[in-house]
Symmetry: C2
Subunit: 372 residues, 2 copies
Amino acid sequence: MSQPGDFTVDATDGAARACTLETAHGTVQTPVFMPVGTLGTVKGIDPRELTEIGTQILLGNTYHLHLKPGEELIAELGGLHRFMAWDGPILTDSGGFQVFSLAHTRTIDDDGVTFRSVYDGSAVRLRPEDAMRVQELLGSDIAMCFDEVPKPDAPLQHLAAAVERTTRWAERCKASPAASGQLRFGIVQGGVDEALRARSAKDIIDIGFDGYAIGGLAVGEERDDMFRVTKSTADLLPTDRPRYFMGIGDPEGILRVIAAGVDMFDCVLPTRLGRTGAAMTSAGRLNLRNATFARDDRPLDELCACSTCTRFSRAYIRHLVAQKEILGMRLLSVHNMAFLLALTTSAREAIVEQRFDDFLAGALERLKTGSD
Amino acid sequence: MSQPGDFTVDATDGAARACTLETAHGTVQTPVFMPVGTLGTVKGIDPRELTEIGTQILLGNTYHLHLKPGEELIAELGGLHRFMAWDGPILTDSGGFQVFSLAHTRTIDDDGVTFRSVYDGSAVRLRPEDAMRVQELLGSDIAMCFDEVPKPDAPLQHLAAAVERTTRWAERCKASPAASGQLRFGIVQGGVDEALRARSAKDIIDIGFDGYAIGGLAVGEERDDMFRVTKSTADLLPTDRPRYFMGIGDPEGILRVIAAGVDMFDCVLPTRLGRTGAAMTSAGRLNLRNATFARDDRPLDELCACSTCTRFSRAYIRHLVAQKEILGMRLLSVHNMAFLLALTTSAREAIVEQRFDDFLAGALERLKTGSD
């Protein structure tokens, strides 16, 4: 009988891994892309559609759900799974990233952070214990530690202080109550400084968590630095625990972090692009606002088997986008998500079949061919 | 072997009818509500969802599709059915109603109408032959004649002139080419003047069409006048042809026009309400913006079996509406449409079982009970 937290490495190919993680709401096979359900909804997509396209696990945002509609209300209504009608696994972030990226005015001290709500400007206090309490009440399957996310160009002294604070907060997070069967992931910080990352990784591993995340990347640093630090950090993480890169959703980025040994990743990119008229395809990105698609009878991606591509033409979707029709955003969001999920499924197959290098080279080459 | 236009009256109960109409894309059982796909999409709803909730026939708007993206483009891409991925029957209106209700500046003469596009202000000329040509290229199953729709408070002389012009235009519409298997419906005008309605009905019936519509109502006149004129006009229409009331979508209105002997009706109301946070229920309308729903764990309508009501609470939908999430508009639009379709299916069953009066009285009573 499997238990939440059970983790097996099914195959490796170079640094890339194909693993299986058990959670209280089901099994996750990695590499896995996690659609982001910011406010209890993956924007524009119905949970039934998420199931249809092969979604294994969703991400919920502690920051947003704490403010709207509030974790007490969600708990009263049976928890986040029931509230949003999603029976599968859910990972909640801790709010750390949003506190630091969204809040215009905030004060930070060793005990926690005070910031202004993006919804109504009211003052909100969030300590590590609060972040874990919110996630406990939401009832997620995986809770993330509350961390300090410094700006990518912060001075080394600031980065080091954030690493230290993140470690102390991780200890307090681990000491906080968890929901039944809820796993806890620690977060490694340290900017793009490999020595700091190594120190943070050691600190967090010493505390001991069910999984380990690489945080504070994809926040504006150079892409080469991001991939370099991802690789060096992943190399330091335990092989018998899942590894999560926080916040990457472009196809090339996903493939490269998989190559670095990362198992899990998330991003709002597929739905954000969908709402702004753009499609991710195996041959790169398409802007459906472009008039060149007005009479294009082809699907968004001829290699895609999703419910958008098997039914609708680029011309139709362009028409919907031009007229600001909700269905246009829906069809693009579903396709983009299906595309990323299929990409990661293909990556897993390639790892299992020991041909990941060829798969990676071929996929990256196709992505560069452009839309036409 | 059935042919497009075949029509049988399966049962009557008082003036109410349960009928079957054959079209080139399938069979329609009446009474039937037709969701409106203004610009080639029923706003916010996927064609698969329309099928799931029992949609039999859609309506497309000639005015809008002529302007965006244009009938030539749609024809080039295989016609409206293929363009919007809907294999079932489609009825297209003629644009007459939109020309008269949307155009700020228009000039009308016996040959046709010149108006300004609501999209870019350009001058557009539409004659009866043009309206039929657009519908031929769209490839709809039922094409409507191009009519003149006067304001409800127009003087009698103006109403009479509109009736005469509508008759002359109907003759020209009938003489225009049709798509393969495409049916033609004539439209009766005459405001709320029963004598004018009788004259218009006689004129249009004399020309001879596959079905007959009652147009120019539900445009601002008193409700009692509307129901009175609907009944008196329906009484004059051939019993062996379908009858279509153009533009009614509130539950009470639908039930009353069914009672008057109408078979078909359409309205944007269910999707418009859905996009603005309102739900139609068997106990009346709910405004999900209302804070009283914040902790309400019940479905929108406890009598409804749709995919919204079987999965989501009022509290969740209120949260989505408050946060302007697309999924909130989707779930409400799907529910509202499912509710109206189920209401008309129940009406048909009641007619077939000769208990329509009791059904009508019970449904109208429940609609008045309020939201709680």
